[in-house]
Each structure stands twice: as C-alpha cells, then as structure tokens.
Symmetry: C2
Subunit: 481 residues, 2 copies
Amino acid sequence: MQIPREKWKNNFSEWFDNVIFQAEIYDYGRYPIKGMGVWMPYGFKIRQNVINIIRKFLDETGHEEVLFPLLIPEYLLRKESEHIKGFEGEVYWVTKGGEEDLDIRLALRPTSEVAITYMESLWIKSYKELPKKYYQIVSIFRYETKATRPMIRLREVTTFKEAHTLHVSYEDAERQVKEAIEIYKKIFDTLGIPYILSERPEWDRFAGAEHTYAFDTLMPDGRALQIGTVHHLGQHFTKALDYKIQKADGSLDYPYQTSYGISDRVIAVSIAVNGDDHGPLLNPIIAPIKVVIIPIPAKTEEDNKRVDNYCKEIQEKLSSAGISAVVDSDKEKTPGEKFYYWEMKGVPLRIEIGLREVNNETITIKRRDTLEAKIVKKDELIKTVTELLSSLSEDLKKKAWDFFNSRIFYTNDVNEAKKILENRGGIIEVPWCGDNSCGLKIEEELNARVLGYPIDAKKTSDPCVICKKPSTNVLRVAKTY
Amino acid sequence: MQIPREKWKNNFSEWFDNVIFQAEIYDYGRYPIKGMGVWMPYGFKIRQNVINIIRKFLDETGHEEVLFPLLIPEYLLRKESEHIKGFEGEVYWVTKGGEEDLDIRLALRPTSEVAITYMESLWIKSYKELPKKYYQIVSIFRYETKATRPMIRLREVTTFKEAHTLHVSYEDAERQVKEAIEIYKKIFDTLGIPYILSERPEWDRFAGAEHTYAFDTLMPDGRALQIGTVHHLGQHFTKALDYKIQKADGSLDYPYQTSYGISDRVIAVSIAVNGDDHGPLLNPIIAPIKVVIIPIPAKTEEDNKRVDNYCKEIQEKLSSAGISAVVDSDKEKTPGEKFYYWEMKGVPLRIEIGLREVNNETITIKRRDTLEAKIVKKDELIKTVTELLSSLSEDLKKKAWDFFNSRIFYTNDVNEAKKILENRGGIIEVPWCGDNSCGLKIEEELNARVLGYPIDAKKTSDPCVICKKPSTNVLRVAKTY
C-alpha cells in the first residue's frame, strides 16, 4: 500500500497515517475510543529513544523528574480562573467510583500547573531553595472537538513532557524561559527537526501565562505544526493558590513560575520530516534498529551456511560496538521482500551479504535514502557504519532545514500572501503595526493562523499590511495543523 | 522524627510512612485526593532503578513493551462477565467530556486484559506468530474502599507492570506461567526481596483466570503482602471477544492467554525490608546515590581546601567507575547533621575525609548498616567500594531471608496457629483436605487470610485441621495487608 511520492505531497496526512500503521509504530483509529491510539513495540522503542534525548537535556540542566497523580480535583483546577476557562470545554471528568457518585469531580489532567503548584507550596518555603525545576513525562487528556490526528491531535496525549519551574523574581523566571528555549533548540537540533521561534500573540497565549513562546515546524505539505511552548507564568498560579515564600530580606512574596512542554508531536515530526515512497526514514538517532543485514542466497547449502555465519559475525561486531543490528534470516522470503519490509520500517542502513562478500571478506552497505552501495573491507565495518549513520543524520537534518527555509516568505501584499499559502504553504511574514485588531484581521483575510512575532523585532520600512500605519514588527502567518 | 527500632517493630506502618516522607521518596496523604501520592525526585530515581531491573528481565525473555490508552469503553470491559464482576465496585468512570455527557462511559483501566485482547485480535491471526508477549508499565486505578496505604494500597497505582501473553495451546500458556514465575523470582532475588509462591485458592483467583499463582512476602511486622501474581487465563478473554486464530492444521480456535503483574509494592518492599532507627537502608541495587562523601573540617582555610579537593577527586574517581557519589560540601552544616541527613536518605556507603585521610592518601568508608569503619589506600578505592556495595547487598538479602524463614510455621493445631499469628505474625501452614469449605472455615477461625497452597503438594500425615479427614496439601494462612 505505497503512496507515490508525487501523490503524497498533497496527501501528507494519508502518507503519514499509512506509514505509522504499516511500520507498526502507532495503531490509530482502531482502538475503540476516538483520538486514542496504541504504541506498538517498534513505535514504543522510537518513543523511548526520543524520551531519552529529552531526559538527557533536562537532567543535565538540573531538572528533576517527578510523577504526579493523573487526577486533579475540580476545586483545585478552578483556583486559577483564566486557566480553567482555557480548558473548561476540553476536560474529561471522572464522576463515579464504582456505582457511587463522587463528592468532588476529578479531572483527567489537561496539564499540571495547579497540581504542581499546590505541592510546591508544601515543599518549598524559602528563596534559598530556588530556582527549582521539576518535570514529568505523562499522559494528558483533552476532549478535542476538532478532528483528531494520530500523534498530532489526540484526546490522550501519551508523551507529554511538562516542566514546571519556580523562581524568586520575575527576572529569574525570564532567565529560565531563555534556558528552556535553549534546551528545546538542542532537542530539536539533535532530532534534526527544523523550527522557528515566535512569541504567540496575546489572544493565543496559554491560559494563565504572561508570555507564551512557541516553536513551530512545517510538515511536508507546508502546514505549520506547533512542537513546543514555553510560558512565563508570572505569579498567576502562586497568587491563585495564595502561596508565598520567604525572600532574602525576610519578607514574604508569591514566587514566579514558568512551564514548558513538548509532546508526541516531536516523535511524529521526527518521523514525518524524513520519508519517501518507501515509507519512513528514521533518523539514526531514534531508529531502534540501525542496520539490517540481509543474506543473499547462494547456490549450495554449504555456501548458504557460510553466508549465514558471516552475517552473524557482522551482526555481533556491530552489536558489540553498540550499534543495534538484526539479521533477517527468514528462509521463506526473497531478498526483495526483505528489502521492502525493512524500508517500510525506516531502518537507516542495509548490509547485503552474498558469497562474493564472504569470499572477499567485504561488506556491501546501502543507505536507506540514496540506496548507493558502498563496498568496504570487513575490518572497516564499524568505522564505515558509524560514519554513514552520522552523515545520514546530518544529511537528513540539512535536507529538512533546506525545505523549511525554502518555505519562509516575506511579503507586504495580502493577495500575494494568500496565493503563497494556497499554492506552496509555509510561513509568511507580513509587516504589522502591533495592534491585536490588525493581527486578527490578518488571520481572517488569509484564512490562516497567526503564529506570532519574532522575539527580536524584525523591522521593515513597509507599513502594516492591514492598517498601513508604520509597522513595528512582522507577524508570522501559516495554515496550521 | 525518628521512631526507635523497638517501637517500630509494632508500628511498622508508622515507620514506613515516616521514612518515605522524610527521605523525600513519596509524598502521601497531602495530595488532595485520597489514595494518590506524588513521586518526589529522589523516589522517582529509586522507582526508575526498580523499573530498569523489571524491564531487563522482561526484555531478555522476548517481552515487547507497548503502551495502551488509559481509558477502556464500558461495553468492552463488560465483555468478560466474571472479569467485570470482579472489578465493578472499584472502577472509576469518566462520564463527561467538557460539559457534554459521554455516550459511552469510559473506565480508567483497572487492568488491561480486554483492551489488549481486543487489539491482539487485530494484530495476530496465525499460530505462526505465537507465542507473543507484551507488557506495559502504567497507572491503574481502583476505587478502593479499604484503608489506603502509601505505595501498598492505592487508588492510583502508578507503577503497574502488566504482561499479557498469547499462545496456541493450554500447555504453551502453562509453560509461560512457569517462565513468568522464573522471571519474577529473578526480579525479587535481584532486589533482595524474600518470597513464597502459592497457588491462590479458587475463591481468591483473579477475575477471569483459571489459575492464579501469587508471590507473597512478609513485612517487618509479620503481615503478608502480595507482591506479584501470575494468571493462566485459559480462553476466557479470547472467547469473550470471539477472537480466533488459525492453527497449524488450518482450523480456527480461540488462543490461550496468561497475564502477570507487579506494582509499586515491589518498590515499597525494597525499601521496607531493610531499615532501622535511622531510616531506610537502600539496597545498592536501587540506591540513586551509592556513596556520600563528607568532608571533616580541618583547622585552617588551606587545609579545608585540601580536604575539599581530595573529596572531589574521590567523587570523580567513583563517578567515572559508574558509581554514583555526591560530596556534601555544605559549609553551614556539621558533619553530624550530614550523617543524619544521608542516613535518612538510606545511602548505603559513607566516606569521611579529613586531613588525616588527605595526608595519608587513604579513605575511611562506613557501611550504613554496621557503621564499621574501613580505612584503605586511595588506589584501592574502586575495588573496596565495589566489594562493600556487593557484600552489603548480599548481607541485606540474607538478613531479609533469615527473618522471612523464621516466620514460616507449620502446625496442625488451630489454637496454636491463632497464637502464633497474634504474637509473631508470619505465614502458617496447616494440613488441609482440599475442600473450599474447610479453607473458608480456616480463614474464619484464624481471622486471617488464606494465601493458597504450594504448587507441589506438601503431604503430611496430619489430618485436615478443620474436618479431620485425610489432608492432601497444606494451606498457607497469614494476616495480610
């Protein structure tokens, strides 16, 4: 069930849904609840590799992992009124235990600001213990009314990494926002995901935040997808929970907070940005299997045995160098069928071993993207494979960025903007006076969504695309997921 | 807030609750929902170490990790009637999304047999793909009406490892039951947890199982605690879901299943079995920090600097050997305060470094249990620490087993059994004819719970302790958590 490259450019969703199903990554649409899917073993390993990368960058910057209960009592969620308003329509409520009606409705967490702030108020009493950085990787739930999409818009988001930090001052929280942005850049860079960072406009901030910064990427069909957000929460939640700490001068004050999250979408994008007619092409950094070894049948039983032994030897050499490799020794399948199968799994490198390789003590290695064959001596195996995996990673990243950069446009003309969005997609920057009303007008005119504006204002001499007053920055607009 | 050893023997719960709170392992009773607690950073690391051990033994025996949605639709949960009956009173129900009433009530999973069987029926069609072994580590929910206890009886069990396997025949499922039992033994042995394996009596089987085998341990107060169960599910769930596979002879039949689970209790017991007046004593195998290094202040600034540098050098040597170690260089605390703090954290080894150690190029190491000092040359650091950690692990395990074995009794006298249970606790074996009615009578007479009977029948010439007919096996009875 391949979808030709030419076709899937305009049917990216169809391609993606197919790929994650056929590669046995994520079974979606068959579990009997809308918007909830199953991570299958192969997908679970990809997910685990992505999580490990996220954990690494958070741990090494002093973030401490915790695990909070899934349920939040209604009265607690209601403490911050802006916050609950932002989520009210999307909360799943537990109302019964057994056949009893519960006294207090319990929310499946949509996010954990209030729950974590509540416990922080018991744990941390003094400026001396600040800053404090917690995170957890958990399921969150949103009763989405929009069309759901596997890994991208779910009712159960199974891989929500939410960080929550606590600070003595507004400025220290601001510094944390910058740290968070740097951490997210490192995560996306490691995964080879291109991104653009914008401050979200006032009307699109996180419910309860003073500022929201967001990373967006582009899917192959030119639509933008939010892949990470960083919020300066100010004292909103600590005030709502009447939580004060002792400051250096002995006075009491509400501490400041930030929170930042990334989700399954990072995994989705890691898969989505690289791929072709043959299916996904997993970046070696997240591929559960980096090399598949396929024996090419020889003419005699004895020669086949020699081929098999040689395959095994190569596999063991790779494994002991920490490079996960499998031999596909299924006798009932042709090499062609195996090629197809492992391409569909997105394995980055393929080694083909026939009698010639055994006799010459060589190996033939092919990259999943170019299918270019490289023949090297056996003792160069580890060096070559390591180099190929690394250059494949780099090439994928470069290709993804090239595509991304080719889809960022500037125009001061509404009609041109409209045309670009319709024909090529991407992100369009237009000059903007800074007024919300003009921002909302832009969304309306372009039938697209404002992503926000660059943190360091991009000045242009063009006037605002709507009101023609002088512009103060550009506004970024895109069709979004 | 120490609890003297003599006292806590009879107040084990109080000791345990205190220890996990003061060591900042698990904050329980303060989160505003009964029966749900928070894994704090230190506890989260212990939990992670335990999870890694569980994963290792499952992965190396071909179990594949997956992740299923948290919610199960009511009609699916009702497919197996015995099963739902077993859980009906304990299920949390989601009935609302936003302000809408849901058409179908959704259960927070109490366990995942039906959900997993449902997806298996889509994934696996032929005997060729069997046996298949899945597992996931997830939160499960039970609206407990009994008194809840941290990590032991919770409404949200946050660390439920549930394995689900699929087989072509009854016998192959039986073989899997044996494999599961061996895996669990390895997990408990690695963690140093003593156990006894019994087949649960008919009236105490898992809802939907043909046989339930259970591991029980003893808490320091002599009460038994179930720490793992293994179920032969027969065809109960596959029949309920009308799920057939193709067999080797071409015919269709319902496949057979097993499931087996362990939970947070394994973590609780790992902490509970080892400890004293000073708090917990973490088995090095699960301790997030294996060695704490405490500088002993010298008289001059310069000497203190030498001590600090030496501490750092030792810490780095340990870290690069993969032994997690921290230096507590807080200048505002006395060594005594630090000793107390790190004992409360259960760190297995303490290194004290003063000027004498610096001058002699030695280190003084103390085991958390004996506090016996060992002075060794610096170049013997890694060797000595490794040996001490390993002998500490072994000693803890031996001590735990000695205690456990000293609390297993046999008697053919009901009054004596009653007396033992009241005075010393433990597990009592009594001769039994094999009739359920006598088993239930034993529970009543002893005001205790039947754990079950040995898989390989223990014959005794004594008659059944209730009906005096010839006995066929012994029945194990204990006061339980």
